[in-house]
Amino acid sequence: MKYEPVIGLEVHVELNTKSKMFCRCFADYFSKEPNTHTCPICLGLPGALPYTNKEAITKCIQIGLALNCKIVDLSRFERKNYFYPDLPKGYQISQYRWPLCVEGWLEVEDKEGNVSKIRINRVHQEEDTGKLTHSDGQTLIDFNRSGVPLVEIVTEPDFTDPSQVKDYAKKLQQIFRYLSVSNADMEKGDMRLEANVSVRPVGQKELPNYRVELKNINSFRFMTAAIEYEIKRQIEALEKGEKLTQETRGWNEDKRETYLQRSKEEAHDYRYFPEPDLPELKMKSEEERVKEEMVELPQAKMQRFVSEYGISKQNAQVLVELKEVGYYFEKAVKLGEAQQIKPQELANYIVNQKITLASQDQVLRAVEFIAAKRVGIIEDEAVIKKIVLEVIKKNPKSVEDYKRGKLNALQALIGGVMRKTQGKVNVEKVMVVLEKKLKSGDTP
């Protein structure tokens, strides 16, 4: 029997707001002294009341819109109840039945370049938990991260290949960075992936009756490897007649295999109910405002670059990969216009030089370099003649060599002209003038 994978993805992204989701504590917890950004609200002390951060809601809606979601008429916060030391209230404020954004989609490409549409079930707002460190049989808790705004994006189980998952995750990261809603750094935990993986016989319409959750995997590469491994493991198990069950697995990079973390017996029962301390959200009316404030997204920018500047799709794709590079490319195009530098020329230059975020000011310098080179280029033959004569005068030995038939003597003289003009001269014209002068014997 032939099997096909059924994969769904849950992505958590931490928003880069200044303050936390429901209190005014500083939200940036990275390498800060433990428990220095807390208050009764994010410590879950009795009687404390949450107060929603507007900027976080706006950013959540931006993500929803970027993923072609509908903004719902009525949205509510809900309590997700469970006990764990990183959760001081005994519940996480999240969304379950009334998420802010629903029914979106994103186009992804697999490794062969086939494009397919992945349906987005929901984009909802929640809060992060505290950070646990385990040492000497004890667990240490830092609540600086407790209550930092978190957005969760859940797809339908529409992926059929790990390469699509990778493309999806990369596109999401790109969108987060374009929107400036998060740094989306996987290693720092700004962005976290969870995949639900199962397999079914090809042709079967219904979803499999189990799914394996892959969790705590903090790189695109490991996630892809874990999914690939899981598909193989599950198909082999089914072929041996084994029954697969609901479970959570992690990835062991040393052994390059997934391992069991939690089985079905311990499955959670979250008892969601509406958060009575927070009024409902009616954000549909904000949709237009949020849309207007949104930047142009990579896909749209790529298409515009192709149609507006006539550059290749491949180049455009590289240029929009990082928001900054696309920005500098357009700046460069404007700058280059006066000097008749074609956008294609600039695009080639930027792409070939592999200019990235790390060297973004390099982009501007590059353009200025091309532009300056162009602007200062000496084309005037009278001027070239004058410079050539000067160089000939100063290099009698090379002239002698040339007359004796040494070909590289000509190169030396051209080099002299180039040095004198700092390269800003039409070399072909220099050669013509130089050879004419030398042949005519019109030398000092």
């Binding site: 707001t17 009024p279 959200l281």
Partner: protein
């Protein structure tokens, strides 16, 4: 409605409260009585009544993204029984799977 011992144990586990055999027996009885009491609400006809989730009638109560004051580390840790190097300490739990 009668809660059986398994249900009591499940509720206790969800509430993170350890219960003994005798307590399971006792609570199964007490909790069942509470459920019966609450069950009286079901005698009210609520057809056509929208559920109330929030009694303020407000919506979109939002604040600007501004940072305010936090507690000091000392204040934050003041009421905990165990602390270490600025952290709250609890008995070891495995990193959640």
């Amino acid at each position: 409605m009668k809660l059986n011992p398994q249900q009591v144990q499940k509720v206790a586990k969800l509430a993170n409260i350890p219960v003994s055999e005798e307590e399971v027996e006792k609570y199964s009885d007490q909790l069942s009585k509470i459920l019966d009491y609450i069950d009286q609400l079901n005698s009210v006809d609520t057809a056509g009544v929208e559920p109330t989730f929030n009694i303020t009638g407000l919506s979109n109560v939002l604040r600007d993204d501004e940072v305010g004051e936090s507690l000091s580390q000392e204040e934050a840790l003041k009421n905990t029984s165990q602390k270490k190097e600025g952290f709250f300490v609890t008995k070891g739990v495995f990193e959640e799977g």
